[in-house]
Amino acid sequence: MEIKVEMDNNVVILKPIGNLVASSAEILKTQVAKLLEKNYLYLLLDLSKVDFVDSSGLGACIAVNKTLAAREGVLVCAGANETILKLFRITRADQKITLTASRLDALKFLQDKALLRSAR
């Protein structure tokens, strides 16, 4: 799995390409740890190029969400296919991690969160 990294203002967009599974889940965690070192707190995980996620990949998403939440950051997963959405639903992870259909929706959600935080 390869992860492309993009920026949109203060939102970091991670775009994994491939499968997010036991053999690759650590790559995502490592990438996020590097971003946290630089104090990036708004993360968009674009899953539009991910075909398959197993429970290890899901666990990595949950771990990232927890790490960000502990720092008042936010994770949004966008563009997941029906197979991935089903995994989130069965495990109830869809109740813990914000999911949006499109990357644009996710970006808007995160930028609103960032604005709210800066207004505090």
Binding site: N19, V21, A22, S23, F52, D54, S55, S56, L58, G59, A60, I62, A63, N65, K66, A69, T83, K86, L87, I90, T91, R92, A93, Q95, K96, I97
Partner: protein, 138 residues
């Protein structure tokens, strides 16, 4: 379609689970769902979770997966010579009360049990033998 089978035997590494899943996806598309679909998704996720568990916990030097197809569906037989473990003991998803933001692991067994139509376990000749069956409803 009767009697079609494929045996895979591999060193228990997650990267090899990826190869086994790829082969299984190919079988599903060849025999049942050319464009993919829920049958393929469900059996591939169940197999992945069962294989991941074998890689992570069994301690077996080799893992074997036998895929047998008939006109009604697929039977997967997963064999390893590691620690004796019965995956048919009822499992549930991790408790939300203990994990308000979600558990990072512990989903595998419950997923396997939810995604297949039947699951049988035997310990034979010093080996764990897990048999999963998924019916294809076209």
């Amino acid at each position: 379609m009767t009697g079609r089978a494929l045996d895979m035997r591999f060193i228990p590494e997650f990267a090899n689970v990826d190869l086994a899943r790829g082969a299984l996806q190919g079988i599903c598309r060849e025999l049942f769902e050319p464009e993919g679909g829920s049958f393929t998704d469900n059996i591939c996720l169940a197999a992945t979770e069962a294989l991941n568990n074998a890689v992570e916990h069994s301690g077996s030097p080799v893992v074997e997966l036998k895929v047998t197809a008939d006109r009604d569906g697929l039977t997967l037989r997963l064999t390893n010579s590691g620690v004796r473990f019965d995956p048919t003991v009822p499992a549930s998803m991790p408790d939300d009360a203990d994990n308000p933001l979600g558990a990072e692991g512990g989903y595998g067994l419950a997923l396997v049990q939810q995604l297949v139509d039947s699951l049988e376990y035997a310990f034979r000749d010093g080996k764990n033998v897990l048999t999963m069956y998924k019916r294809y409803i076209g």
